[in-house]
């Protein structure tokens, strides 16, 4: 298991280098010059050249990239062109906000999704099942910013019990978390139901009944643990998506997280900031995948032992 994790971490570094290279090249190709944006087209060519030199943009591309790589190894992504703040500090600040939002949405999505999925599976074919699945379908297909606005209207304006923007008080996170988590909760509910229905048909569930196991334990222990693998796969991907920030939700609720940062960096062609953000996003996905793979092993001894034997 340990050597497996090490191997995966090694792969992670390769993936990150690859992704940073692709981003770097893309940014050269995409039109829009940061210096021109910065100087708002009023500057004369000498000033532009001076600034380019200052930012190191006049160096050959390969040198630029290797400099970037060298610094990145020390977690130094340079400073933002505009705010002159170190990229890592900006990332960290936004990450804290996104992390808070993610944790809440994630808990909301997992708890609501798995509970609804289990209930729908137990009540398969009944009105409760149809109601829950319609709700899940709605959560999945309704655009998140639309849900966000509806929530703002109902809870923020009509009932006036929750703040509709900001991020300083804990309650401010409630609406964005629900808005962001809704579609994930819907997804999780649907896969939980499918997976549970598949598992409860299995022979070992009949064996558990024949043994006299209580019905709720059959569901929560015997069935759920077997149904976890597809659920974990989905939950993992979704965790990745949440951690990389939601541009829409962060915008609607004016929460300065990673999503907002990425959009701002993009529109202003703030290359160091953009590179840092992309590398961060890639890093999150790779790590989440690793965690997902490790947790498969926690739930399924066949995977756990398979890995153990092959090393």
């Amino acid at each position: 298991m340990f050597s497996y994790i090490l191997k995966r971490l090694g792969q992670t570094i390769l993936v990150l280098i690859g992704i940073s290279l692709v981003t770097f090249i893309l940014l050269q190709v995409v039109p829009g010059d940061p210096v021109q944006l910065m100087l708002e087209k009023r500057a004369d060519p000498q000033t532009i050249a001076a600034v380019r030199h200052e930012l190191g943009l006049d160096l050959p591309l390969t040198t630029q990239y290797f400099n970037f790589l060298k610094n990145a190894l020390h977690f130094d992504f340079g400073v933002s062109y505009f705010s002159k703040e170190p990229v890592t500090a900006v990332l960290l600040r936004c990450f804290k906000v996104t992390l808070k939002l993610t944790c809440l949405s994630f808990i909301f999505a997992v708890v609501v999704g798995i509970t609804c999925g289990i209930i729908a599976a137990i009540k398969r074919g009944t009105a409760i099942d149809s109601a829950l699945m319609t709700l899940a379908m709605f959560g999945v297909s309704a655009p998140s910013f639309w849900i966000a606005i509806i929530l703002q209207i109902i809870f923020g304006i009509k009932l006036n019990i929750l703040p509709i923007s900001g991020f300083d008080t804990p309650v401010a996170f409630i609406l964005p978390s629900i808005a962001l988590g809704a579609r994930y909760a819907g997804d999780i509910a649907r896969i939980t139901r499918t997976s549970m229905l598949d598992v409860v048909k299995q022979d070992y569930i009949r064996t558990a009944r024949a043994k006299g196991v209580k019905e709720n334990l059959i569901i929560m222990k015997h069935a759920l643990k077997n149904a976890m693998i597809p659920i974990i796969t989905l939950v993992g991907t979704e965790l990745g998506c949440m951690l990389t920030g939601s541009m829409l939700i962060e915008r609607v609720f004016s929460v300065p997280g990673i999503g907002k940062l990425a959009v701002d960096a993009m529109t202003s062609r703030d290359l160091p900031l953009l590179e840092g953000t992309v590398v961060y996003i890639a890093f999150v996905f790779v790590m989440v995948n690793l965690i997902v793979d490790i947790s498969y092993a926690l739930f399924d001894p066949r995977i756990r032992y398979g890995k153990g034997n092959s090393k």
Partner: protein, 329 residues
Amino acid sequence: MSENLIEVKDLRTYFFIDGGVVKAVDGVSFNVERGKTLGIVGESGCGKSITSLSIMQLLESPPGKIVGGEIIYNGENLLNKTKEEMRHIRGNKIAMIFQEPMTSLNPVFTVGQQIVEALLIHEEGITKEKAKERAIEMLKLVKIPLPEKRFNEYPHQLSGGMRQRVMIAMALSCNPELLICDEPTTALDVTIQAQILELINELKEKTGASVMMITHDLGVIAEIADDVMVMYAGKVVEQADTDSIFEKPLHPYTIGLMNCIPKLTEEVEELSVIKGMVPSYDDMPKGCAFCPRCDYAKKICEEEMPELIELEGRKVRCHMYSEKWKEEN
């Protein structure tokens, strides 16, 4: 003293599906005596499993439903018990072993956890340590080598035969009075089959439990059963003690099954088979269900379902043994 542990009377279990009603078990009656083994034989689909699942009340419902009859266990009708009362009987008083050892154990729990679970449910006040001890004892009893090590292994680490032994250990862990075995050896290869049967026989002697052995193999019956019930299309067609049935099968279907057993003493050109197939629920013949495949069938067989008649202390459902038949000839 031969006392009945369980008496099934006129059990009817139907499946209500889109196309109609499948009468999977249709008026089946039988008794299992204390300490005795009842063998239930019949072709695939004749209702053997549904009979046993009805006793356990483990039917998939809907579409399955017990629509009639009684299951008297120790003087009480199990069909009047609540769900919770049945749960205390299942795995405790009546235990069951299934056909598919490969899929009948939960893949994500160790063998030990699964046996201990049964003990913790039914043995009042037993501690975890005590339960573990008992579980290892049970593994020893079913002749699993290195029981302490196996205790911590997962089902996928065991062979089919070993898994069936674990199932037996689990089923017997709470000293049930009735052990229902639904084709416990069908999925195993021949040598393992013999070992498992021998084991069931031996443990039955040791614990004094009654056994219901479901099979489609008369060889298994000869090996293990005291009494036999032959089923066909949801109904009992013949009931007798094992010796007499092997000596002189009465029902043409039983005769057919007997002829299907390859005999070592005779040189046979080809294995005999019963021609035709079990009729499906939507074209059940009006008369005897076996009639379309029967060599002896007459007009009356097509028209009238024969009663289960008593004859020399056994029972058979065939017009051949009725008064009418004798009159006609």
